[in-house]
C-alpha cells in the first residue's frame, strides 16, 4: 500500500509541475569542430543535429525539437528540425524535417519513466525498432537501417528550486540506411533535449 502511495505521489508531482519557460527555449551553441552541428551538451538546451550525408538535419527555435508519443503499445521519439543550416537572412524559409524512432513493446507510463534509458544503447537495425523520415510535413518515408545505434548517454531528472522540472535526454547517434533504395549515412548525431509533460503524449 505504501509503495503504491509513493508511486502515485511521485507520478502526480511530475505531472503537475509547471515547466520553467527558460527550459523550453533552444540554446544553440555550435560545435567548434563540426561547426554545422550543435556542440554536445547535457544542459537541456533543446538542440540536436546530425549530418545527413553532406546536408544537416538540425533543430531550430520554431519547431518543438522532441515529442515522445506513446500509443498502440509503442513509443516514438519524434525529432523535428530543419534540413540545412540556418541563414540569418533566409531563416524564415526553412524546410522542416523529422526523424522518428519507434520502439515497439516499450510503454512508459509517465515521462519520468524514460530515465531507465540512462546509459543505454538502442541498435537501430533490431526488430523492435522502426526509423522513419519526413520532409516538409509530407508522408513518412520508411528507413531501412543497415547498421547504427542511438546512445542515451545521460538522462537526468532536473529540479529547479527544489521542484521537479523535466528530464534531460543527452546522447549520440549515427546510422547507415537505405532511403527509397538509396544509401544514406547519418553521422555525428547528438542531442540534448528536455522532456516534460508538455511534450510527452500518451493516448
Amino acid at each position: 500500500m505504501k509503495r503504491y502511495l509513493i508511486y502515485i505521489v511521485s507520478v502526480l508531482s511530475f505531472m503537475s509541475c509547471s515547466k520553467d519557460v527558460d527550459f523550453s527555449k533552444s540554446v544553440m551553441i555550435y560545435d567548434k569542430e563540426l561547426t554545422d552541428l550543435p556542440a554536445y551538451s547535457e544542459w537541456g538546451y533543446n538542440t540536436f543535429g546530425v549530418y545527413y550525408d553532406r546536408e544537416v538535419l538540425i533543430s531550430n527555435d520554431k519547431e518543438v525539437p522532441l515529442k515522445v508519443i506513446v500509443t498502440n503499445n509503442q513509443t516514438t521519439f519524434v525529432f523535428t528540425g530543419q534540413k540545412g543550416n540556418y541563414s540569418y537572412y533566409y531563416n524564415y524559409t526553412y524546410h522542416p524535417m523529422t526523424l522518428s524512432l519507434t520502439l515497439t513493446d516499450y510503454v512508459p507510463t509517465v515521462y519520468s519513466d524514460l530515465s531507465v534509458l540512462h546509459d543505454s544503447t538502442i541498435r537501430l537495425n533490431s526488430k523492435n525498432c522502426i526509423v522513419e523520415l519526413n520532409f516538409d510535413d509530407t508522408t513518412k518515408i520508411p528507413v531501412k537501417v543497415i547498421d547504427g545505434q542511438f546512445y542515451f548517454k545521460r538522462i537526468q531528472k532536473v529540479t529547479v528550486d527544489k521542484k521537479p522540472q523535466e528530464l534531460i535526454l543527452s546522447g549520440y547517434f549515427d546510422f547507415k540506411a537505405l532511403i527509397n533504395g538509396k544509401p544514406i549515412t547519418f553521422s555525428n548525431g547528438r542531442f540534448d533535449l528536455g522532456l516534460a509533460n508538455a511534450n510527452f503524449y500518451k493516448y
Binding site: 540554446v27 551553441i29 538546451y45 520554431k62 540569418y88 537526468q156 531528472k157 532536473v158 527544489k162
Partner: protein, 265 residues
C-alpha cells in the same frame, strides 16, 4: 619569474646604496589607499546554464550571460626610505577587502536570474535560480614597494613602481540573492559550491604616478597601479583573477627631514 628577479635586484641595489650612503637618505611615513579591479574568469566548478539573448534570431551562438566583478580596496601605513632622491623602498601594513560578485547581464537577457547547478549526480541535477552571488573577504597584509624617480626633486615628480604584497585572510563571507526569495533558506546549497579564498596569498604589481610636494614637506602622490597579478590564480575565492589595474593615493609625511638637510649641507 622575470618580475621576481627585477624585484630582488632592486632590493639588493637599494640595500647596497643604503649602506654606502646612509647619510643621504630621507625617511617618510606614508598613508596609502586605493582600489584595484580585476579582469576575472568564472571557475570551472561553478556550473551555470547558458541562455539566449532576448532578441534571438536562432542563428547566433549563445554564450554565458553572467558577469563576474572583482575588486580590492585597501588602506595602509608604510615607512619609506628614499635614497639619493632616486630610489624609494617602503614596507608597511595594509588592511584590504576583496569584493567579488556574479550577476546576470539582464540588459540583453530577459530574466535577472541565472540557473546554477547546486547538486549533481549521473542521473539528476538540481538547479537554483540565483540573482546574485557576493563574496567579501578581509585581509591584513605587508606591502613592499620600490619606487624609482628618474628626475631630480621638483614640485611634480614622476615615478615608476614595482611592488609585492603578502596577505593573510582574516574573514570571508558569501551571500546569495535568489530568484525566488523563499529559497533563501537553502543558501548553503549554493555556497557549498563556491570556493573560499586561501589563507595566504600574494600579489605582484607595478605602477607609475606623479608625486606633488616639496622634498622635505608633506606631499601627495597619485598613481596608476597595474598590471597586478596574484601569484596563485585559483586561490582567491569564487572568481579567478587574471590581471588587475587601479588607482592608489599616497599621503607622504617626511620624518627627520631637518637632520637630512644638515647632512646634505
Amino acid at each position: 619569474m622575470k618580475m621576481r628577479k627585477i624585484l630582488v635586484l632592486l632590493v639588493v641595489v637599494s640595500l647596497y646604496k643604503t649602506n654606502l650612503n646612509a647619510q643621504i637618505t630621507q625617511k617618510y611615513l606614508n598613508v596609502d589607499m586605493g582600489i584595484t579591479g580585476f579582469v576575472n574568469e568564472l571557475p570551472d566548478n561553478l556550473k551555470i546554464r547558458g541562455d539566449v539573448p532576448k532578441y534571438y534570431y536562432g542563428n547566433e551562438p549563445s554564450t554565458k550571460m553572467v558577469n563576474g566583478y572583482m575588486h580590492k580596496q585597501f588602506l595602509g601605513l608604510k615607512a619609506e626610505i628614499v635614497i639619493r632622491d632616486k630610489f624609494g623602498w617602503s614596507v608597511g601594513v595594509r588592511y584590504s577587502q576583496m569584493k567579488s560578485s556574479i550577476t546576470k547581464n539582464n540588459k540583453d537577457y530577459g530574466n535577472d536570474y541565472f540557473y546554477l547547478v547546486t547538486n549533481e549526480t549521473a542521473t539528476s541535477s538540481e538547479y537554483m535560480k540565483v540573482r546574485e552571488i557576493n563574496q567579501s573577504s578581509n585581509y591584513v597584509g605587508v606591502p613592499i614597494e620600490f619606487r624609482y624617480f628618474p628626475y631630480m626633486p621638483r614640485k611634480f615628480r614622476v615615478f615608476i613602481k614595482l611592488a609585492a604584497e603578502g596577505t593573510i585572510l582574516l574573514q570571508t563571507k558569501t551571500n546569495v540573492k535568489f530568484g525566488d526569495e523563499a529559497m533563501a533558506k537553502n543558501e548553503n546549497d549554493v555556497t557549498r559550491n563556491i570556493s573560499n579564498p586561501a589563507k595566504l596569498s600574494s600579489l605582484l604589481y607595478g605602477g607609475f604616478g606623479i608625486k606633488y610636494g616639496q622634498k622635505s614637506k608633506p606631499s601627495v602622490s597619485i598613481e596608476f597601479s597595474g598590471p597586478a597579478w596574484f601569484a596563485s590564480y585559483k586561490s582567491n575565492g569564487m572568481l579567478n583573477p587574471v590581471v588587475g589595474g587601479g588607482v592608489q593615493i599616497n599621503i607622504q609625511i617626511p620624518i627627520g627631514a631637518k637632520t637630512e638637510e644638515v647632512i646634505n649641507q
